[in-house]
């Protein structure tokens, strides 16, 4: 039997028997520690997918905590944005974690708005600890910067409620007519009440469609709202004419009210899908919430990077972002340039040289540097200004659904006009001609387009959300069907930005004291290679001992243990060793020659093979060196010609600007490529503005998420095509009958909602549980590959 993760229920990687990643392990541990197991019960399924990659520290929290400490109030109210809230279980677990913190008074968690409002005692409440607890469960706090819910969305909800209440009553009143009440004062009362309520429903519900249709006419573009608005207006006018002229047979009052309400529901779903996704993520805040430490008059201040000026002194801690070009301190520092160039190995920058904006400090201790430029003039500011969601012309293609809509609108209008002209030519009375035109527009109501398609998109996006894939761009799910090439960046995307020992079992050959010395050297360094050693030694137990250890920048660590000089560092400095990139030596004698490699996301090799089996071309595109990229391609089983190293941001952009590529990256050096690609995705972690600027954002297993995005997108397109085909077939039959004058109000009133229910039922059946279909059968992926030109 296939086993799944105890937290998120994703399939387990080989060799694991409980959790799929460290994130899920930590989340489960917290839930058990705090006795919050009811969380799984309330969710009725797996827990929220947790990011596998570690998230760097967030300085905005310090600014917030500083304000709390300075507050003189006994109790204060704090409102923050929160990312990842889905349901009642999320609300419950956040409330429970809050209530257990000292200084917590009250909390209102609002998943609809993605906000949390807390009342706390400022001096005793530890906001940082609360944020870390939430992060362990996959929720991320951010400064309150999301806009309030739009009035348009709220207005639409109001219109739906009012129209639904009116429509139900119109149906009740009209039912008496269908039951045989055709004359008398009671008949007058029923039809009069039905007309009055329909008038209200049309006034309340028709407004958005009429306004949109008028705008489309002004712009000389055929929009779906045009036949909807025409259908509502003409059907209402025809029904009113029939009502006041005493011709019940032509009255479509209940159909008009139902149609208006259903179209409003479709419109609301369309708008809600995107708004809900936006609400579940932190705001696209650019650099608004990017902070750093500035030293002024001996005082360390937390300031927004946008406020930095040339000459400012900055205090950078290990792991901090270098926000502006700065001067390296005397003695030099180690920095990681993975975010701006994709190079995974930290590099040494000598004292006085330029520290490039966008680097992360990789050394072991905090340093003070001098800003060489204001933030506005830095390269980082330019890169972050790149609007990732504005696609370049090559990547812009109209989805089939949009093209079809234009044809549909044109044909519907043509059929309505044709039936009217035909009726007039054969000498029918004007009233009868109007009846036929109205019948054509009512029965040709675009239910498949207006309701079934929004429902399909809502279901698909909901399914993706449940597995940690958040779609931000309105047209992404239309575009993924055209993807033929999946292009992955390397560092931070396929790899976790960490190193591991290629042969950790070699450590067992060391005597216990040497192992202890090696562990103590490695524990005192933050260099990725040292961390790889620590990780490999952890299962054997590590104790930090009092010892004299020093770091030699760019070379390694040196310490004295039991009177012997031990070194851990680069070959040449620590000792000569061929085929190794890390050496441990004692008194100059090499005890262990190690080779490190980048730690892969655990799902990458398997999922990439599945993508290739499904017919996608998988490419590796990196700014890192040739050897590392080639080694990774070999580990992933990618052909050498599909792995490109040393690519600059411009080269990356050119590589993916072919109109068929999905670009998956995480660095600012990928921003241009993301804009040029057909679509883009990015993993969770790091800073919030990159996820906010791509088409999709994956929390949890990245490559699995990408594969699911492709599968769901493809299933969605097939479902939409099925629904549209059904709708067109129905419309051809119904419009033909209406043109011939065979469509009575009763028949129209029955088949119009029936057809809507049928097509919505089809959509629900096709998309239920779509997010998990890859788990049932990996082989199905072959069948899921879209045929060329299908989109």
């Amino acid at each position: 039997m296939k086993r799944s993760c105890l937290h998120c229920q994703n399939p387990l990687p080989p060799g694991e028997d409980t959790f799929c990643c460290a994130g899920c392990r930590a989340a489960r541990a917290l839930i058990e520690e705090a006795h919050l197991e009811k969380y799984y019960e309330l969710r009725g399924g797996p827990g929220v997918v947790v990011p596998e990659a570690p998230v760097r520290g967030e300085i905005w929290l310090e600014a917030c905590q500083e304000q709390l400490q300075k507050s003189k109030d006994e109790v204060i109210r704090l409102e923050l944005d929160v990312q990842g809230l889905h349901c009642a279980a999320c609300v419950w677990v956040v409330e429970q974690l809050f209530e257990r913190r000292e200084g917590a008074c009250g909390v209102v968690v609002n998943p609809g708005a993605g906000k949390i409002a807390m009342t706390v005692r400022p001096r005793s409440f530890d906001l940082g600890r609360f944020a870390r607890d939430l992060a362990r469960l996959g929720y991320r706090l951010g400064p309150s910067s999301k806009a309030e819910r739009s009035e348009a969305s709220r207005g639409l909800l109001l219109r739906i409620g009012i129209c639904a209440a009116l429509t139900v009553n119109v149906m009740i009143f009209t039912f008496s007519v269908y039951s045989g009440l055709v004359e008398g004062p009671l008949h007058g009362l029923m039809t009069g009440a039905a007309w009055a309520l329909t008038t209200l429903a049309v006034l309340v519900g028709g407004g958005p469609f009429v306004r949109s249709a008028l705008a489309s006419v002004q712009q000389r573009a055929l929009h779906l709202d045009l036949p909807i608005a025409l259908g509502i207006t003409l059907a209402y006018a025809g029904s009113s004419y029939a009502h006041f002229s005493g011709k019940d047979g032509a009255s479509y009052l209940d159909t008009v009210a139902t149609f208006t309400t259903l179209m409003l529901v479709g419109r609301f779903l369309q708008e809600r899908v995107l708004e809900r996704n936006r609400r579940q993520l932190l705001a696209d805040d650019g650099v608004e919430n990017l902070y750093t430490h500035r030293v002024r008059d001996g005082v360390v201040q937390v300031v927004r990077v946008g406020e930095l000026q040339e000459g400012d002194r900055l205090l950078l801690r290990p792991g901090d972002l270098v926000p502006v070009d700065a001067e390296a301190p005397e003695g030099g520092v180690q920095v990681s340039r993975e975010w701006i160039t994709g190079e995974s190995t930290p590099v040494a920058v000598p004292g006085g040289a330029v520290l490039e904006a966008g680097c992360f400090l990789a050394g072991d201790c905090a340093v003070e540097v001098k800003a060489r430029a204001a933030y506005a003039a830095s390269r980082l500011a330019g890169l972050l200004r790149t609007p990732g969601n504005v696609r370049e012309p090559g990547a812009r293609r109209t989805p089939f659904w949009s093209r079809l809509t234009r044809w549909y609108v044109a044909l519907t209008l043509l059929a309505a006009v044709g039936s009217g002209v035909g009726g007039w030519l054969v000498g029918r009375a004007p009233g009868r001609v109007l009846e036929i035109v109205v019948a054509v527009l009512v029965v040709a109501c675009p239910c498949a387009f207006g309701i079934a398609v929004p429902v399909a998109y809502e279901l698909a996006q909901g399914a993706l959300r449940r597995v940690g894939v958040f779609v931000r761009s309105p047209s992404l799910l239309d575009r993924v069907g055209m993807v033929r090439r999946v292009v992955f960046d390397k560092t931070g995307t396929l790899t976790l930005g960490e190193l591991e020992l290629e042969h950790p079992e070699e450590l067992c050959s060391l005597p216990p004291w040497a192992k202890k010395a090696l562990g103590n050297l490695a524990l005192r360094s933050r260099h990725p290679k040292s961390r790889a050693v620590v990780k490999a030694l952890e299962p054997q137990g590590l104790l930090l001992e009092d010892a004299s250890v020093r770091e030699e920048t760019g070379r390694g660590m040196e310490g004295i243990f039991e009177g012997k000089v031990c070194r851990l560092g680069a070959p040449g400095w620590a000792g000569e060793a061929k085929g190794a990139d890390l050496v441990f030596s004692v008194d100059g004698q090499v005890k262990l020659a190690m080779m490190t490699r980048e730690r892969l996301r655990h799902d990458a090799p398997g999922r990439i093979r599945e993508l290739e089996r499904a017919g996608y071309e998988v490419h590796l595109l990196s700014g890192d060196g040739v050897e590392r990229v080639a080694a990774l391609a070999r580990r992933l089983g990618l052909a050498p010609e599909r792995a490109r190293a040393g690519a600059s941001p411009e080269e990356k952009r050119a590589y993916v600007a072919t109109g068929d590529a999905l670009m998956v990256g995480d660095g600012v050096n990928d921003a241009a490529a993301m804009g040029a690609a057909l679509c883009s995705a990015t993993p969770a972690g790091e800073l919030p503005f990159l996820p906010a600027r791509t088409d999709a954002y994956v929390q949890g297993e990245l490559v699995t998420g990408v594969r699911r995005l492709l599968i769901v997108g493809d299933r969605l397109q097939r479902t939409v095509r099925g629904a549209v085909t059904f709708g067109l077939a129905y419309n051809v039959l119904a419009v033909s009958a209406a043109c011939m004058g065979w469509m009575s109000p009763l028949v129209a009133a029955v088949i119009m909602p029936l057809s809507s229910v049928a097509v919505v039922g089809y959509v629900i059946g096709r998309l239920r549980g779509v997010e998990r279909i890859d788990e049932e059968s990996a082989g199905e992926a072959v069948a899921l590959m879209p045929s060329p030109g299908a989109a």
Binding site: R77, A88, W92, V107, V108, G112, M118, T119, G161, A165
Partner: protein, 52 residues
């Protein structure tokens, strides 16, 4: 027969009331708190109501 007119009038009043209630609920953003309000029955009876 007249009772039907009365019933229609009463139903109209009920519709108006329900629409009024709905508008009040939307204006107070209650629809955004459905997940939180859904948990209310799970809380202990003696637990004090919490407000932020």
């Amino acid at each position: 027969m007249e009772v039907v007119f009365l019933l229609v009038f009463v139903s109209g009043v009920l519709v108006a009331c329900s629409i009024g209630g709905f508008i009040y609920s939307i204006r107070n953003d209650e629809h955004e708190h459905v997940d939180r309000l859904a948990l209310a029955p799970l809380r202990d009876d003696n637990e004090a109501p919490r407000r932020a």
